[in-house]
Symmetry: C2
Subunit: 129 residues, 2 copies
């Protein structure tokens, strides 16, 4: 069975973002990234990572004294989960509503709209039949 990882919480998501952008990282490295935006104790980040490892959100290499952490799921995969989850919870499954919501909240420009259209085309190409 595919190990089922839970939906990351807010704080966990922040850490995942660091891991996605940095790749394999030690606690210290993650901490430095996190604390730059929001001053936080080192052990807070450490504990988070330990909990996340327990949940299966991250994996770690303990072969060195400084353990090295990696996100267990890709950014894309997680984004799909979160978008799908929100879709069900708040949008009654209507993809169109979600898209519109995202667009209007961020005051998307014509340029971004074009980008979205382009992505739609690409996505459709990958569709069966």
């Amino acid at each position: 069975m595919a190990a089922t990882v839970p939906k990351p919480t807010d704080a966990e998501l922040e850490i995942l973002c660091v891991l996605w952008s940095r790749g394999r990282s030690t606690v210290r490295e993650v901490h430095e990234a996190i604390t730059a935006r929001k001053p936080t104790q080192y052990t807070t980040v450490l504990k988070q990572l330990q909990v996340m490892a327990g949940k299966g959100l991250v994996r770690r290499d303990e072969s060195q004294r400084s353990h090295v952490y990696v996100a267990a799921r890709t950014r894309d995969w997680t984004q799909r989960q979160l978008a799908g989850d929100l879709l069900q919870r708040a949008f009654g499954g209507s993809t169109g509503s979600l898209v519109l919501g995202a667009l209007s909240e961020t005051k998307a420009t014509k340029r971004e709209l074009a980008e979205v259209r382009r992505l739609l085309d690409e996505y459709e190409k990958g569709l069966p039949q």
Copy 2:
């Protein structure tokens, strides 16, 4: 200043969905809708609504013995908040990624794609210049 309402929690969102679809509702009516999908005590829903009123997520009319509740924000407004929030937290502000995430997670069909495109067109029409 516009009263700033907090982001609704999962349980709160379920109740809001009921209020949005039913309109003005008593606790009993909300409870009936909620418990149909997930058996729940009457007082649980009542308490939720009371808390939500305190947070400003709903307003209530106490002129009758059975208080009548209304969502304080429209469905559209809330959806925009949630979509925008997720966008910032998980997608680094990239609307395109969010759209793709939602599409691929729900295995959107060609028909739905067409619908999304139509909405995009409409949205663009309302855009200034």
